[in-house]
Symmetry: C2
Subunit: 178 residues, 2 copies
């Protein structure tokens, strides 16, 4: 199973690294996409290789999308290709997990209206304005969508994200003769 | 179930935060012990509350011990009470997971002689001198002991640590992804 993380410079380090290591612990292959390939740097100075440029991402290759927070989403939401990729996950009903400022990308992609979600405190008004049923809670789950507020929510965020991933494994299609 | 992390200032941020959040995702209560109670600060600037002073730690309350790396172990290994606590985990056969410079504490506690382990590259000679069967591998498991080298080993480190925790038999088995 393959996971995609989309981020950029000034990511919130723990919100990228903790899911990245967790998904790999679980045996998933994890690609990190950014505006261009190469090292991206977090607010706390961690560097990690974005091994794929967003222009080269093929959403159909991935089972799950994770959007960390920090300052990265402010840049990513301005990129049309990022928004196309995000919409592809929603159209396919695949799990999408966004934390902190990550939901800003979902707003710009136009996929949040009428959904239930949470986000970083300072983003809450923007979510409400976008027609989101906002709750101040460590994690909100609405169908394919898992959202959290901040790094201290990572245990709940990943617990719910892992449930979505395990559910994919359980309903993986068996090879059938046609 | 209760886990103990022992660390101090200048910890390697990801080696503390990733296990901390992972254990809490799993439903464990996690205490962080340091030389004194209060905030400790990582090399990358993350701050986290050490909610218990090492003098007040009662090892019998915990099922598992995690020792992150960074510069913290250099200070911790000089503290007699830290070494007493570590020895108590080994004497009880409880899981102990140490990464990077974390195994330095185990050397000073005198619990590594004849054991198989790994550690950060620059600590390897010290491990060999202490009579350890050292291997350069992402994770080594020897009985109750799980060791890894560096942050990029965190997926393997936590996969093996979680196996030890699940083997304690105090939690319902989890669905594992293939």
């Amino acid at each position: 199973m393959r996971a995609l993380i989309i981020s950029a410079n000034r990511f919130e380090d723990s919100e990228l690294l903790v899911p990245y290591y967790r998904l790999r612990e679980e045996g998933l292959t994890v690609d990190i996409a950014s505006l261009t390939k190469g090292l991206i740097k977090g607010k706390h100075g961690y560097e990690i290789e974005a091994n794929v440029a967003i222009a080269d991402v093929r959403p159909e290759q991935y089972s799950v999308l994770v959007l960390p927070g920090g300052k990265a989403p402010a840049a990513l939401r301005e990129n049309k290709r990022v928004l196309d990729v995000v919409r592809a996950f929603f159209e396919a009903g695949k799990p999408v997990s966004a934390i902190c400022h990550g939901p800003q990308i979902l707003i710009s992609a136009g996929v949040l209206k009428g959904r239930t979600a949470t986000c970083y405190r300072s983003v809450a008004d923007e979510l409400r304005s976008a027609g989101v049923n906002y709750h101040d809670a460590e994690v909100m789950v609405d169908g394919n969508l898992v959202t959290s507020r901040q790094p201290s929510d990572l245990p709940a965020f990943l617990r719910e994200t892992m449930k979505k991933i395990h559910a994919l494994g359980e309903k993986a299609p068996r090879v059938a003769a046609s």
